[in-house]
């Protein structure tokens, strides 16, 4: 391995931070320079990710991961700077490095405090990437929290009318979950003797005795730690009933912030479920999987119904995330039930469900970011998001209309586009074990169609609201650059899912 290969992930991870530091010393007034520089550094991460992908197979595997880096960090407590990537994290790393530059491009309307905005955005990218790349629990937690702060400021400084409420709700909710997570991480780290995840995957589930002065049995402590993890991640996903921060945060955040929130931040939760909960708590996960499935189905159904109730376009899209991310959790629950089952059929079920869950995260990242961007496009022009104010805009905005329909269909999971493959895999994987839950989730799937068509119908179709005649302009070239990669990838995944699923499948097979 060359030096470059052995530090590849560090470069991806900290290129945005380097950009942020350089931005700090740049004069505030050079608006264009700030934009170009921020975009440039986020593109470095993207290019490096693509290059990494190109040589992914050729790099040796250590402990199930590739491009591994490991260095002492806090040697006293056995915490390491340990990074690595595999088929579970790669799709999300790609998603992050792809969406960040697109979100920066979608920030044209940001005029105030541009420098601070860009710095925060780049720091946010490092925080998110760190979560996906960390192979050390403590490091994981640090990045988990690092991502939180920039987003708080992005919402509270550049958000909509109700931004302070939304930002506070967002950060308090997430921090509330983090408390338990931190405690649980400490318990695991201390009793396991290390924070290194690759070692913990072996050690922690095998522990039979715990040297803690609490007088609790190890089963109880495991269960408590499990639920601490679950709640932290469930808030992030979000799983019903921990979801009410989401509509507020997503609606009030600036367009680019919503794109990242829905596109990547929610995936931190889903990733946590798959990367940490399944291997660290296989027995607890199996035991509590039905409860998790119930919550997932509640999210799927109630998220869709909640979306249907909205008159604010952005809030409708925000609720749709709850609906879609429910399928991720349903897939996780199904995989947990069949975890390392002896029966090869059950193993296949788990495999499919987990494949679907990871792919669903990727697909939802594309479609949700696209939807939020398109809401932003129309809001920039019309300065309203109320669905009742629109009507018949297709005649004025044919390009926008076509792209909106496409993106809505991607979100709906139309067969031929990516979302269908992942939802089908989850449904197929969950069906044998969680038959009733899967059947009930179909109600949510039906209402997904209902709310998306409601949005299309109100915005594009029907008699033209004369107020917009001659006021609205169709999408600009820059806006097309933002949306086309999302559309293209969605179509590619729908037609030939193996381009990404091959890698995911490989990782999932190793996981079992």
């Amino acid at each position: 391995m060359t030096w470059l290969e052995s530090h590849w992930l560090t470069l991806i991870l900290f290129a945005p931070t380097a950009g942020a530091l350089i931005l700090l010393i740049l004069p505030v007034r050079n608006e264009k320079g700030i934009r170009v520089l921020a975009l440039g550094f986020s593109l470095i991460s993207l290019v490096l990710t693509l290059l990494l992908w190109a040589r992914f197979e050729s790099v040796p595997v250590t402990g199930g991961f590739r491009f591994v880096e490991r260095a002492e960090w806090f040697s006293a407590i056995h915490a390491f700077y340990h990074l690595g990537i595999d088929g579970l994290s790669f799709p999300l790393v790609l998603l992050t490095t792809l969406l960040t530059p697109l979100a920066l491009l979608a920030s044209e309307s940001i005029k105030t405090n541009l420098k601070a905005y860009m710095v925060l955005f780049l720091l946010l990218e490092t925080g998110m990437l760190g979560v996906f790349l960390a192979l050390d629990l403590l490091l994981f937690f640090v990045f988990w929290e690092v991502g939180l702060v920039p987003m708080y400021f992005l919402i509270s400084q550049w958000g909509g009318a109700n931004r302070h409420y939304a930002a506070l709700k967002f950060i308090l909710y997430t921090m509330g979950g983090s408390l338990g997570l931190l405690l649980a991480i400490q318990v695991i780290g201390l009793s396991g003797g290390t924070f290194d995840l690759v070692e913990l995957f072996q050690r922690w589930p095998a522990l039979t005795y715990l040297n803690l002065p609490l007088g609790l049995s190890i089963e109880t402590i495991r269960a408590i730690a499990f639920w601490a993890f679950v709640i932290a991640f469930a808030i992030k996903v979000p799983v019903w009933p921990f979801h009410t921060w989401l509509p507020d945060a997503h609606t009030e955040a600036p367009t680019a912030g919503s794109m990242i929130l829905a596109g990547v931040l929610l995936k931190l939760g889903g990733y946590g479920f798959i990367r940490l909960i399944l291997p660290l708590f296989p027995n607890e996960a199996q035991r509590f999987a039905p409860a998790l499935a119930v919550l997932a189905v509640a999210a799927i159904i109630l998220g869709a119904l909640g979306a249907l109730a909205q008159q604010d376009f952005k809030r409708l899209v925000a609720y749709s995330s709850i609906n879609h991310m429910g399928f991720v959790v349903l897939g996780v629950a199904a995989a947990a039930l069949a975890w390392r089952a002896a029966d090869p059929r059950a193993q296949l079920d788990a495999n499919l469900a987990l494949n679907g869950a990871v792919l669903q995260m990727f697909n939802h990242g594309l479609s949700a970011a696209g939807m939020f961007f398109l809401v932003g496009v129309i809001y920039d022009r019309a300065h309203t998001r109320d669905l009742r104010d629109f009507g018949g805009l297709y005649a004025l905005l044919p390009v926008y209309g076509t792209i909106l329909i496409f993106t809505a269909m991607a979100s709906l999971g139309l067969p031929g586009l990516g979302g269908f493959v992942s939802e089908f895999l989850v449904v197929r994987g969950a069906w044998p074990q969680l038959t009733l839950a899967t059947a009930l989730s179909m109600i949510g799937l039906f209402f997904t169609g209902a709310y998306l068509l409601k949005a299309l119908r109100s915005v594009l179709h029907g008699p033209l609201n004369p107020r917009w005649q001659g006021v609205l302009k169709d999408m600009s070239g820059l806006e097309l650059i933002v949306i086309l990669p999302l559309i293209g990838l969605s179509l590619l995944t729908g037609l030939w899912p193996a381009w990404l699923l091959g890698m995911i499948n490989q990782a999932v097979v190793t996981l079992f």
Partner: protein, 726 residues
């Protein structure tokens, strides 16, 4: 090129045309329709080549053509997709290829290619006509070209792609992809004139109603894949062991077998797609789309796809069934729903005034026929009727579009504002539009099952014959439906073409252009001749002279079990079929020959409330609105959003937040302020106070200080003295 590879390429030209038109040629009308028609011509040609090759092969059913490729990695194996051609595919390809090509060509004329642009025309609305000035300075209103002409051809191309994909698929998953893409296309095309309120509602209704069936179908896919480890037709349907296991293993629901449960789930998809009761409501509203779309949806593609699915999965639906024995659960459901729908829709068709709506209900009714036939095990007859129906229904829709076009011409000419689709405004059009009249007549007679000459007669007769043998109730229902079908068909022909024009526009109607008429003639040819390839052996006089090619070819799909069970001639069904057809036709003409006024149907007064009930379609839409849609919206808006999210969850959160603030306040008011602040302040104030008091002792005069020092020394001395004493 080997046929296997050719098959895989059949859907691709229209898909390419879709993308090219959408991305590049959307401003060029001629180029766009050239691309679209060129692409479906390629697919049509390919289909005919496949058809021709299939005719040369003896055992296509046992050894279907196909090819697979790896698609989704699933653990250590792959989920494969591929293409598959067997006799069922071949006959489906045949009618799909012909009808689609004809519809595409016809659309050029229907959307007024070559006409001027209308000054009032807007995207999203049907063309309003354009003013032109002729050589003598007279101003005329003439039809204007469709403002979204290229877009139309892009969308129907995608539609054609989806149908081809569905037909050549070798597995349920790619079938489902074609199925859903067609759903999207129908949504976009029904809502083609999206600026109309009615069109956008119809589009949403079509998509959501069919989606009800689709989500059930998705569960069926999941279940089937779980149990068999595959969705491939050959792996499941041609494998008696798999079918046997499915038919004998109990599912968790009510102890019915998995085969039955999966069959019912898939059937739910068909109920939506093929507009069977109770999910039929979207189809009549789908008439909001341009007429070629109606033909596409109702004849060539979408509704046929639903029936195709049932025919394709017949081995699963009938798993465990032996002819003559009680029907399996899915078959019984199909027989019941199909027969009921056939009759139910036919009665509604009696009282519709819109020329296309009558045809829409007749579609629902005829598909009910096919479903019922399949339900009672008449596999070949069902397939046969699917094919003949595709031809004569496509013909009828395109002919009705031609009528509407002619009427619109009259409307432009006279300047009247009247509904060009209302049959009561028509009359006597046979003189003005002779080609269209003859074409429509052929289609109508085929639909009514006019004996011997028409294709519809042969397929319908076979269904009735099978029903007579297996289930009398189904037979009677279908027989009555046949009578009603003939009646409303003749009502339509009489109202539109016979008698005298009932409006000035009808008197000024105009025959359509050749580009519209020629497709009608092609389809009329098939609406007659297709029936002759399936004349049953037993038929008196004709049987045996014409080979029953269709029965042998499609029947081979079921192996020996597919041999027509009714090899012996029974006169009753034939008599019923002929009587229903001729009687209905005669009655239709006899009743409606006296229609003179434009306001009211001649039967409206004598039938009174019954007529209104039929006219309002049994109030099904109103009932759904009240018991399904409104409660669903309430559930979303009031229950989920306002109560659960805002009041309960956020209520709890805000409660916690308020509690936190209250506790903080409490600490501040009870502990912080009085105790801690109080103590601190008291200390400070006390010190200050003491200082102030003591200041009097520090006036700055040396004598006083010395005096004080003296006093202090004395006091200390005294103190030490006394301490020493102790």
């Amino acid at each position: 090129m080997p046929v296997d590879i050719l098959i895989g390429f059949l859907p691709l030209p229209p898909l390419l045309a879709f993308f090219v038109i959408m991305l590049f040629t959307y401003r060029r009308n001629g180029l766009s329709h050239g691309l679209a028609i060129g692409s479906v011509t390629l697919s049509w040609l390919g289909s005919l080549v496949v058809f021709w090759h299939a005719l040369q092969v003896r055992d296509l059913a046992e050894h279907p053509w196909g090819a697979q490729l790896n698609w989704i990695p699933t653990g250590n194996t792959w989920f494969q997709i591929g293409v598959h051609v067997d006799p069922l595919t071949v006959v489906t390809l045949f009618f799909v290829a012909w009808t689609i090509l004809m519809i595409f060509i016809y659309s050029v004329g229907y959307h007024n290619y070559g006409q001027p642009r209308g000054t009032l025309d807007r995207p999203g609305l049907p063309p309003q006509g354009a003013e032109v000035q002729d050589a003598h300075g007279h101003r005329h209103r003439v039809p204007s070209v469709e403002p979204m002409y290229a877009r139309f051809f892009a969308l129907v191309s995608l539609f054609a792609f989806a149908m081809y994909l569905l037909v050549i698929s070798d597995n349920l998953l790619t079938l489902y992809i074609g199925w859903e893409v067609m759903g999207l296309c129908s949504y976009l095309l029904i809502g083609f004139w999206y600026a109309r309120e009615s069109a956008r509602n119809a589009a949403v209704k079509a998509f959501l109603t069919t989606r009800v069936g689709d989500v059930f179908m998705l569960l069926g896919l999941a279940a089937l894949y779980t149990l068999t480890g595959s969705l491939n037709y050959r792996a499941i349907l041609s494998n008696p062991q798999v079918l046997e296991i499915l038919a004998t293993t109990a599912s968790p629901i009510a102890g019915i077998s998995w085969a039955a449960l999966i069959g019912l789930l898939l059937f739910a998809g068909t109920i939506g797609k093929s507009a069977q009761f109770p999910l039929h409501v979207w189809l009549p509203d789908a008439m909001e789309g341009p007429t070629p779309v109606s033909a596409m949806i109702h004849a060539a593609t979408m509704v046929s796809a639903g029936v195709y699915l049932m025919i394709r999965f017949f081995p699963l639906l009938a798993a465990g069934w032996v002819p003559g024995q009680p029907l399996t659960l899915p078959m019984a459901a199909m027989a019941a729903i199909g027969a009921f729908t056939a009759l139910f829709a036919a009665t509604i068709g009696l009282a519709q005034r819109d020329i296309k709506r009558v045809l829409a209900y007749s579609t629902i009714s005829q598909l009910g026929y096919v479903i019922a036939a399949l339900g009672i095990g008449a596999y070949v007859a069902a397939t046969f009727h699917l094919v003949t129906h595709a031809f004569f229904k496509a013909l009828l829709f395109l002919a009705s579009g031609s009528v509407i076009h002619g009427m619109e011409h009259g409307v432009y000419h006279t300047g009247d504002h009247l509904d060009a689709q209302d049959m009561l405004n028509m009359g006597g059009l046979r003189h003005r539009m002779p080609w269209t009249f003859w074409a429509f007549l052929v289609g109508g007679l085929s639909l009514a099952g006019f004996p011997l000459f028409t294709a519809g007669f042969w397929s319908k007769d076979e269904i009735l014959a099978s029903a007579f043998e297996s289930n009398l109730l189904v037979f009677i229902t279908l027989g009555v439906a046949a009578l009603l079908t003939a009646f409303y068909t003749m009502r339509q022909i009489t109202l539109v073409f016979l008698g005298q024009p009932r409006s000035a526009a009808a008197a000024q109607a105009h025959e359509s252009r050749p580009v519209m008429v020629v497709p009608l003639l092609v389809l009329a040819f098939f609406a007659v001749t297709v029936g002759w390839v399936g004349v049953p052996q037993y038929f008196p006089g004709l049987g045996g002279r014409l080979p029953n090619w269709f029965g042998a070819f499609v029947g081979s799909m079921l192996g020996h079990a597919g041999e027509t069970s009714h090899a012996i001639f029974t006169p009753t069904p034939l008599v019923v079929s002929v009587l229903a057809s001729l009687g209905g036709l005669f009655l239709g003409w006899w009743v409606y020959r006296i229609q003179r006024e434009r306001v009211q149907d001649v039967l409206a007064r004598p039938l009174g409330g019954l007529y209104r009930l039929l006219e309002r379609k049994y109030y099904v839409d109103e009932i759904y609105q009240a018991v399904l849609i409104r409660p669903a919206l309430w559930l979303a808006d009031v229950f989920t959003y306002r109560w659960l999210d805002q009041r309960m969850i956020d209520g709890v959160l805000h409660g916690v937040a308020r509690l936190g603030i209250a506790i903080g306040h409490l600490f501040r008011e009870v502990i912080d302020r009085p105790l801690i602040n109080g103590a601190g302040d008291a200390l400070a104030e006390g010190t200050h106070e003491v200082g102030t008091r003591l200041r009097a002792l520090q006036p700055g005069r040396l004598q006083i200080y010395l005096l004080l020092a003296l006093v202090a020394v004395i006091l200390m001395g005294l103190a030490f003295f006394y301490i020493g004493m102790i």
